[in-house]
Amino acid sequence: MPPTRTVNSMTDRMTREPEPNDIVLEVKNLQTWFDTGRGGVLKAVDGIDLTLRRGRTLCVVGESGSGKSITARSILNIVPKPGRIVGGEILLHGAGPNGAPLNLAALDPKGRQIRAIRGHDIGMIFQEPMSSLSPVHTIGQQIVEAIRLHRPMSKADARARAIEMLAQVKIPRPGQSFDSYPFEFSGGMRQRAMTAMALVCEPKLLIADEPTTALDVTTQAEILDLMKGLQQLHGMALMFITHDMGVVAEIADDVAVMYHGKVVEHGPVNDIFFAPQHPYTKQLLNSVLALEQRSHLAGKSVKANQDDVILDVSNLTMSFGGRQPFFGRKLDGPVKALDGVSFALKRGETLGIVGESGSGKTTLGRCIMRILDPTSGQLIYKGRNAPAVDLAPLSRSAVKPFWRDMRMIFQDPFSSLNPRMTVFQIVAEPLRNHGIESGDELHERVAELLQRVGLPREAMSRYPHAFSGGQRQRIGIARAIALKPQLIVADEATSALDVSLRAQVLDLLLDIGQELDMSYVFISHDIGVIRYMCDRVAVMHRGRIVELGETQSVCDNPQHAYTQSLISAIPKPDPRLRGRTSRIRYISESVS
């Protein structure tokens, strides 16, 4: 049994009441607009008020387009063109003459005053740790630069301070890491380095713009722990921007909910979660909480035959040859993306495959569809009224007929639809290629499909770029069900969608699944989504299935240590649970 450690997350205290005279930064009626050309204007931030207090965390939460990132950038006055701050005040307490508040919005964005504040009084960390650090400078160089910009220090002193900071953010071997390049690190390590860089001058306020969105859930838990610890140590104010209500519940003291550039509601975290006032907040919470349980549609499919197995995977193995950088360590020789995976999928069943990055879940999905060739193992597929066939050794052309029956829904709604084809052409493609219909009949069929997924007929003549992400995903679904398949592999089908859309799309999939008697293999990194819709779940780690069982029992009572660590790392959207659940850390090899 691999070793585990139980770690109590550092948020052992209850939520506190704010103290007066504790204010670090006040935003009053901030307005940031974007010129959209031809006189048009987009009001990205349209009159918001925020208060940031020492030692307290304010979470700014909202979906895409709400203006939360622009708010963060407005505070530091680094709004990208063609945006500009048109009104309002950003008062940094204690920074003006005689300790009076200084209005940052009124400062020249390129001037010396605001530059002295950036990095020194206010630090900021960003979402994408890979591209937010310079690829051609060492971590140490970048941190030392941050130090020497604001404090006169010798190079040796600055180096010592930087290494001290790297140790504080728990980067192993800080002395060596100082001379490493960002691409040598994993995502979690890079984020720690960025945090070190932002905090090295001990700022009063740290702004974090979705710092954990691009990280695995276990890594995310580590980083959240780190931030809380650092906040306790330094006592700075923390402004944490996110779209994940679970994270908000985990770390926030105060919450501000943003929608279309306005703060629709703000208050202490308990108030927001248990007594929301604004309809948008309520709707947001509802969508989040809905995903905390099973869908009302789930599990309703007729469990006809326990023995009616349509897909039987045994010992599936897939290796990629050659050198592969594997998060900080380069392995020579082939990498096993799949290592002896076995499971059986029954008709009408929804099987979830959950795992983090590098677990092999996407590779599994593509091997099932035979887009990739497995190295060994069996993939026995039984079509409707057809004998069972082993797909694994078949050539590309022999597999083709099976693609009528096995279809795929892709993750990225932008790249999975050919932008140069109309919606009609896209959805008609599978129909055309199987010679099913043509002409008017084809038109009717496509219109039916579109209506089934909740899109109007007129959508047929439009191009994908006219639709939102959620709508495009529906077009992808229409394309997938066009041939009434028996099995659909959905590879992160809802990961690119806003939370409020996810439940709708998942319900749609369940509904269609029941109507057409389809099975799903549903791949995701988000166990909440899987819990919502899947009957059984397989947990993958490093190419192996470590646990497989009914969704409810795996989620409530995980057996394998890795599953335990995964489940315990997921932030629950309930502030009362903060600090009570102890997180289990799964220590296998790499440090995140």
């Binding site: 895409s64 387009g65 622009i70 770029h465 006219a466």
Partner: protein
């Protein structure tokens, strides 16, 4: 090769999206490209210039006032004549009468060189649709009218001066337009075929075929081209008819110019191969040819058009250089490069600086092609965020 990278971040960025795209729901790729192209002002202007040049190339026989090889020894190295639009009558009133002034020619006895002084007393009226010597249009039918020229046949009109044999520079430049531009087009067409085939194979199949073709391309690109052209051009026998030489030159030029196109096409194929919509089309049951032509091709047609329009100038410049050195086209074929041969020695240039004008024609043609190509390249992918 798909390994999980990091879990997907929210793909819709929290920055205002390009509102322009949202409005054009029904716009096809070509319409979007046109709207994008329109914003490139220089490209729009250059398109007009280019259209004008192409018109000149097509109608050169009609537009040139004189035949390109008609020579008048009396007017050797005559300087350009200014075109006047108004004239004063005997009673002093201004009247619309376009004309050029003649010269008083004196011959310097020692150097046997002519000096030309403008003589206002000689006036040669100019008009539109004038009668001229019969000529053959497009090798098909005979005409006797030119767009503009001296009203009286036989009058001198040297708007851009005359060369060593008294031939009209303007007419020669106009005729040269056809040859120079067409070499560019035909040469690029051949390069395109080679480039599509090799670049397509390279990008579509990948693996060792790709490797080999890439090494070959790198090798060719690393060779200095002029010695190779010179060698190939010098290899042509002198006694070939002009047309065959013309074709041979275009073949030589295209043999070296295909590498760039191949690279662009290969690059597009490689990036398209991993696109989800291509995989989706495969899963939809599309055959490989259908995938290539229906799914991938529309995606790089626009890139090809952009690269082609950027490759033509290179051909034109190459032909000009070769002909200038005397290793390309030969007289009596008239191309800009052949015309520039006259400007080869310093004495002739100092006597007659208007021998540079074919060079200006080259610059204008290449410049407008480059701007148009730049505009096309910017517009080639209208879906780029």
């Amino acid at each position: 090769m798909t390994t999980d990278a990091s879990p997907p971040a929210d793909l819709l960025p929290d920055v205002p999206p390009a509102p322009a795209l949202a409005r054009k729901a029904h716009a096809s790729q070509w319409q979007l490209m046109w709207w994008q192209y329109r914003r490139h002002k220089l490209a729009m202007v250059s398109s007009l210039v280019l259209a004008f040049i192409i018109l000149v190339a097509i109608f050169c026989e009609f537009l040139a006032p004189f035949s390109p090889n008609a020579f008048t020894p009396r007017y050797t190295y005559a300087p350009p004549q200014a075109l006047h639009f108004f004239d004063r009558d005997a009673d002093g009133s201004l009247v619309w009468r376009p004309h050029v002034n003649g010269y008083k020619v004196t011959i310097e006895p020692t150097a046997l060189r002519r000096t030309f002084v403008v003589d206002e007393s000689q006036k040669y009226p100019i008009g539109l649709f004038v009668k001229s010597d019969p000529y053959v249009m497009w090798g098909l039918f005979t005409l006797e009218t030119k767009l503009f020229g001296p009203l009286k046949k036989g009058d001198p009109m040297y708007l851009l001066g005359a060369d060593r044999l008294g031939r009209d520079m303007l007419s020669r430049i106009i005729y040269g337009t056809r040859i120079s531009m067409s070499i560019g087009l035909i040469g690029v067409a051949m390069s395109l075929v080679l480039g599509i085939i090799l670049g397509g194979i390279s990008g579509y199949y990948g693996g060792w075929i790709d490797n080999i073709i890439q090494r070959v391309i790198e090798f060719i690109l690393s060779l200095p081209t002029t010695p190779l052209w010179l060698g190939l051009a010098a290899a042509m026998p002198n006694n070939w008819p002009p047309l065959r030489i013309y074709l041979a030159i275009t073949i030589i030029l295209s043999l070296i110019g295909w590498t760039n196109l191949a690279r662009v096409i290969r690059g597009r194929f490689l990036s398209l191969r991993t696109e989800d919509f291509v995989t989706a089309a495969r899963l939809d049951g599309a055959s490989e040819p259908r995938i290539i032509f229906r799914q991938m091709a529309p995606s790089f047609v626009s890139h090809i058009i952009a690269e082609v329009s950027l490759a033509i100038p290179a051909m034109i410049l190459a032909e000009t250089a070769l002909s200038f050195l005397g290793l390309g086209l030969q007289p009596p074929i008239v191309s800009w490069g052949v015309l520039l041969q006259e400007a080869q020695n310093i004495r002739s240039i100092t006597t007659a600086p208007w021998l540079f004008f074919p060079g200006i024609a080259v610059v204008i043609a290449v410049l407008s092609l480059n701007f148009v190509g730049d505009g096309l390249r910017d517009a080639a992918d209208p879906y780029r965020q």
